[in-house]
Amino acid sequence: MPQITYIQPNGESRSIAVNPGATVMLTAVANGVEGIVAECGGSAMCATCHVYLDEASHSFVPPVSEVEHEMLESATAARRENSRLACQIEMPQGVDEIIVHIPTHQV
């Protein structure tokens, strides 16, 4: 089964098995992964599910939409080239693993 791996700022890592289509945000919240706040519940309204997409996963995920881009500009932790909103990333078909790094702060 494919999995999403969350890496905390302290290096701690946790992998959760998911079905294709699961979002990185909902999976985190449903499994109590620390550091993903997701205040707006996945509407891309709050920028509190900011993650850094691992280089290894970059090619599996569609690019940042205009709305996501604008939200990320105002995320609390520094925006980087690999910044994403976890609510906008779905586990693609045919991919074994998505890896994301969690920032130190969301609010």
Binding site: E39, G41, M45, V67, M71
Partner: protein, 409 residues
């Protein structure tokens, strides 16, 4: 009688967040989260949005899975009303008769849909939308081709309307004032969203009050207005705002005035009792009068403030409020709180469906409504925290970079 600690009355977004933030702040005492609805705490915003389209299952809107509460040692008591607060003894009574004592009590009792006392209001087919169970009733009735009358063109009414249109219903909104979203938005944004719905086939009647419903065999068939017209109705949704749930506080002798009145640290007239979210009326730096807000942001940030207070890290509550609504493809976001007569400055292009309306009072920014302008909204939150940074002229000047204004000292 069981253990003292923190008791939270109300298991909506705010109540849940108090419990979660207390554990985040390393609070080690007992936490009880008591709600009168069945099941685990869930998010309300999707109920009037994606949930109505059947795109979301109930378990997908749960704030956390059952395992979370076990792991965090949070006692969730559902389907249970708190009937009494005994402030002297510092304990509450549950509807079951059980007593529970507290060191700190947090009232996060929320609000309930306002329901007019008019004839036919109890007919089958006359619905409201506040809880998951309300939404499930609504979904079961929202079938293509049916005629839905929506009473009230506020956020709930407009969100239900856009989803009903999407599902192929015939939609008619009735509003007592002269336009939609009058309480919360400028005419610029309110009318923009109204036209968007009209283009999709919705019908609006303004300056129109509902005086009752007609029905056959206990089921609604028509909506009668003050103009003497009866509009054929297969179903009705009431969306005329909410009333804060203050009865418990009132009976306990706490200071209540259209909301449970709290100080700048969200503490009620009893130092061991706080109130947050939709049910709380508080002092805000941007308003002379006490305010009561209905939003996720307000509930969540106030919850964090109270959790910090209880764990000895308290400071006054002072967050920029923000709100959002999905109107089909139009994203509305609001930062700040304006008064009706604050001036409105347009930034952006209405014809491109992408603009913001900046509100000012005595040249000081009070609020910003953004439609399909996420960047403006996010920067507005920062500008509202530093209101001296922007003038009405600057807001209107599209060549000026808001980001630069937001960060300048």
């Amino acid at each position: 009688m069981s253990d003292a600690g923190v008791i939270i009355v109300g298991s909506g977004q705010g109540g849940f967040q108090v419990a979660a933030s207390l554990r985040d702040e390393d609070y080690a005492g007992p936490i009880a989260l008591i709600g009168d609805e069945p099941g685990l705490p869930y998010q309300r915003p999707p109920l009037s949005k994606a949930f109505l389209l059947g795109k979301v299952r109930p378990e997908q809107i749960e704030l956390r899975p059952a395992a979370y509460y076990i792991e965090k040692n949070i006692e969730v008591i559902s389907s249970q009303q708190v009937t009494k607060i005994d402030r002297e003894a510092r304990r509450i009574t549950l509807a079951s008769g059980a007593l529970k004592s507290y060191e700190q009590l947090v009232l996060a009792t929320g609000a309930r849909a306002r329901i007019p006392k008019i004839s036919g209001i109890n007919f089958t087919g006359v619905a409201r939308l506040r809880t998951l169970s309300d939404a499930q009733v609504l979904i079961s009735q929202m079938q293509p081709g049916r005629r839905v009358v929506i009473v009230g063109a506020g956020f709930i009414g407009m969100e239900v309307a856009v989803n009903a249109l999407e599902l192929g219903l015939d939609v008619h909104l009735l509003e007592t004032t002269d336009r939609a979203l009058k309480r919360t938005l400028t005419a610029i944004s309110g009318n923009f969203l109204t036209y968007a719905l009209i283009q999709r086939g919705a019908k609006f009647s303004f300056n129109t009050r509902v005086i009752g419903f007609t029905g056959v065999g206990g089921r609604v068939t028509g909506t009668t207005t003050n103009h003497g017209e009866t509009i054929p109705s297969d179903m009705v949704v009431i969306g005329i705002g909410v009333e804060p749930n203050v009865e418990l506080a009132l009976e306990a002798g706490l200071h209540v005035h259209d909301g449970i009145v709290v100080n700048d640290r969200l503490i009620t007239s009893d130092p061991r009792i706080s109130a947050i979210g939709d049910c709380a009326r508080f002092h805000a730096s941007y308003s002379d009068a006490l305010v009561r807000l209905e939003s996720v942001q307000n509930s969540v940030d106030q919850a964090r403030c109270v959790a910090a207070q209880i764990t000895g890290k308290g400071k006054p509550y002072n967050k920029v409020p923000w709100f959002w609504s999905d109107q089909g493809t139009n994203r509305l976001q609001i930062a700040g709180v304006a008064q009706a007569d604050d001036i409105a400055v347009l930034r952006g292009d209405i014809n491109k469906f992408k603009f913001s309306v900046f509100r000012f009072r005595a040249d000081r920014i009070t609020a910003v409504e953004s439609i399909n302008s996420v960047g403006d909204h996010m920067l507005s939150r920062k500008l509202l925290a530093n209101p001296a940074n922007i003038s009405p002229e600057q807001a209107a000047d599209k060549s000026l970079d808001l980001a630069a204004l937001a960060v300048s000292p």
